[in-house]
Symmetry: D3
Subunit: 242 residues, 6 copies
């Protein structure tokens, strides 16, 4: 990287290619396979006419997410979370995805429905949590459009698109959209999720290696925000609205 | 079906289209996405240089399988087996897949290695257990070829191809390769797994609805065996050996 | 076995002695201790006035089974399935028993009742799954007769007796009703469950060792069917009907 | 009970009949089916040449117990402890049985062996915990005699017989050896486990209903101790030593 | 101890200092931190307007208890009971605490309410189960007084104070109120729980080491009873009633 | 809050009182009870001479954290995570605490030791995760000082103090150090963990309600950083170094 080039030839602030295969699963209300570089996450949105107990009787809906990795998705086999504890990382990610996607929708307009967003990582090459948010938002939008088309919703509860990117510092250089190899060696990890109007929904910076100053974090956040709003969200809009 | 045609236009003894996408997951030793009609199962084979405790010190290898359905794979959301019991159907299927695939390989020649075949159903439209056996055998073959290419195996432990088909009786008619809708209404279900030389590895017939005579079962088994050896196994050979 | 005799002196197609001790447990609606050679399985049938959620509101009943082995039943201590996964083999067997016994009864005539058949293996010496089906059917019949006697059922929902036998191929010889030692060394295992009219309810053939041709399987199935209908089912009838 | 007679005709301080069927399970080192009135508990003793981690390297053995009730043992079906918490009552009883039976044996003389006593209640009609202690001691003695006969033990580690009885106060009357119906209505429950020399190993008195004075407890304990040493332990000795 | 003094200078029948810090947790209906020597147990009582299923529709309330040890409470880190079995000792203790505290209250007068007593050991230095009973009774009394003050109870369901002490025999000497070090070396352990009128609610004597005669147990019980009624219960009364 | 005052009379950017009670638990290597306003978290640090499997053979140590809430800590009873899944929020917090505290220490200098930081919330009134980080760092420092005093460490692996604060936006006003009531109604939640030199270790901003602009987040982060470095960390230093 002495010449500023990354392992896969990208520039430091260049995103990998992002593509969406809509309707990969025919049964759920919304389904999309998002490919983000080598990373591939199958996202589905299933609608049920009930809400969890803590939302009952409020006339409002709920959106929740589950995340998992297939055993063959990574560079060593990932054990299934069967009959035992859910991995802490899994819980952390699915809570992040759920919180992020609840920002897409006016839950009161949704009415007493629960939408579950399932994000299953088929191939993991870094950035699975932001790919899950980004693909999950598309699955969610597709499910809502189907509810509207079916007459199950009379007004559109959609508020805004939500997407995310990851970035990090590796050997002193800020890199946007880390692949797995870069992520493993980064001293500082950041994930930023934002809405289409540029407001921040989730911002997580974690120093397993080297902490950074607040100024550095702020500069990085600005780069991330620009990538989300100018590059990622337009792709979401395009795939759904054509 | 009054005219002998099925919902999707097939004849009673006609298989759906079967296709293989090799290398869908880049990391495992072997990986294939099998499409069998609408059903899609992602199969991977991961090799580890250890065997389970009951095989230790025997100089022999082991092959095991895990099976699961993604939440969005079916016509209602499938709950994940987290922190709770594994569903009985899941266990039954993954044991069938493991036993079947152990017939493909001379375990002594494999040496003290364990190969885990993961079969994850992305889309379920009937026949997921035989699609798992059939795709799993391809993933297993690919993994062995890679071990041979890498020099980790000096002789090929492969014995034979193994594949399966399902069939059933619906309204008195024998139907080969049931889709989900046909499977739900069938009174008798059969799964047959065979080797390329025509010998039977697994034969399971179950009457949830109407039991059948032994002669009927025998006739059906003959049809299934012919489909496995003349139609399915040649496709496996073709995808691996070109 | 060079002289055609087996370890315990039986001929290849000879069943072990089968005996029933009715009412071993005084509390359940039906209870029987079946002794099948050395194997002993305690079977009980408990009736509840509710059905599982997937059967509610259909006006129909349900029959389910649970199977387990006592720690001291085998030649090494069997660990209890406590606070952990149920063993796959256990699940496979209890599903087989449940499916088989549902064929004994017209579930609509049963009405909204659930009958649970518990099969607990006190001593295991081969053939525990077919002993469970055979003893479970007796416990089920006893429970129904008690419901009729108590006036809780006004018409008899009984359809037919159901029983099973196991068989296998060991050193090229077909052996009926394998004891544990024979079962461990058999290359091919078969379990057949049939109704009193000779129709097949479950037929499972599994080759852990050597696969067999379809003709061989067919010949074996005929022997098994004859043993079930001419030897085992008459014993069930005798114990209940006197 | 106005005439001092109990439901089954016994006098207040009369024990039910106790019988032992030795060798009910052929495989474990020791096995006995104890019948205590209607209550029947299958007890087995399995020897392993290892000790739990907290006993390793001390040159001493260990004795532990597990207790469970079969689903059909009681007057309503007992759910299995699968994939969930072990019931608190079960844990309480198996700890009591283990502690009691460790008093039978000089653990240092046993050497680095673990003996597991499994007590499975086939029929429950009160007093299952003391029947488990009493039958478990017989299974344990049988296992030790077999180890001695096999030459696996060169000196006998046996210290003394241990047995128990239950008693309670019902409608102001002290009753020895309560059956289920009496136990349910008793205001105070007592279980006493003693050694053949009359020393107390476990003494538990519990008032779910009406507490009692210390003098009353003391009187009851004397009755219980007499029953254990003069009636129950002689039966244990007789069944083993003939 | 040759001079009759114990490690901490106490006489054999001398209790450690007992103190109560009321209201340690502001939210539960009742809360107290009991310090008993070095042992510290945080007890809370939470009231819910529902009863467990086995008490429903009886117009009566229920009291239950949970017990746990914090990881840093003992001389080696205590593992949390997460996603796994609850330790048997934990279950045994929380059942003892629940049974004991149900004696404090007339459950019919309580009405259809459940009170959960949580006893969490912050520091363990012996006697945590009797400290839990003693502190739990204070938390329970505080909760009831608050329900009365709030008008949620119109008559006081309180019956009597309940408290406990432990004692043991170490090197032939009876010691009251064992600290951890003494408890570890004691051959016989006793816990006695009694009501203010001197009646016995729970009496448990366990010989892990040396059994004792009934006369010895009786003498010990008298000492324990005197300590409970003359020393411990007056402290409970004082802290609540001032 | 129209006059800029908060429920408890604090100014918007005013911290609550923070106090440390060192040595609350006598047994662990380090122990402290941190009181942060009404919130009280008991933190302990336990040292073991082993590392988790993924760190073995690297000559380096490890620091991990566990977090839990006592049942009576909050305004409704918190259920224990027994025999079931660990709550997602719990996992998220304990991972945050562990990552934060690993920054305090040079793990290579620590050598092959694992230090477990247990953070148990006795009273929850907002800010429990930053109180856990802040108190956990003190417990960790105490444990290291004890290892040095005992000669178990020959050089001090300490790198820097680490602490955190929470803040949020409620009704458009930025509030530092939210109590529970404020936290429940805040539209945006932020937690910042920093080292004594002002570098950021964890920065998490989450909009359950109203997202905020990047400029707002940046301003808030500056306030939080100032509070951590100028107010919280000096208190940590004072309590340990006196």
């Amino acid at each position: 990287m002495t010449d500023g080039k990354r392992a896969d030839g990208r520039l430091p602030l260049q995103l990998r290619d992002i593509a969406f295969e809509v309707g990969f699963q025919p049964q759920p209300h919304g389904s999309v396979l998002i490919s983000w570089g080598e990373t591939r996450v199958l996202c589905s949105a299933t609608v049920e006419n009930r809400v969890p107990y803590f939302m009952q009787g409020k006339g409002s809906g709920w959106i929740t997410a589950e995340y998992d990795m297939l055993p063959g998705s990574g560079n060593r086999r990932v054990r299934r979370d069967r009959g035992s504890l859910i991995k802490g990382r899994t819980q952390e990610i699915q809570r992040l995805v759920g919180r992020s996607l609840r920002q897409c929708v006016n839950l009161e307009r949704l009415g007493e429905k629960q939408i579950t967003i399932d994000c299953d990582v088929l191939v993991a090459d870094g950035g699975t949590r932001v790919a899950s948010v980004t693909g999950g938002a598309v699955a969610l939008r597709l499910a809502l459009l189907r509810l509207i088309a079916d007459g199950a919703l009379t007004q559109d509860p959609w508020r805004c698109w939500v997407a995310g990117v990851s970035l990090g510092i590796s050997s002193g250089v800020v890199l946007l959209d880390l692949c797995y190899e870069e992520d493993s060696s980064a001293g500082l990890d950041m994930n930023l999720v934002a809405a289409s109007d540029g407001r921040i929904i989730e911002f997580q910076a974690t120093a397993e290696g080297e902490p950074a100053s607040l100024d550095t974090l702020n500069d990085m956040a600005r780069l991330a925000l620009k990538a989300v709003t100018e590059e990622v969200i337009p792709l979401q809009e395009e795939v759904v609205e054509g």
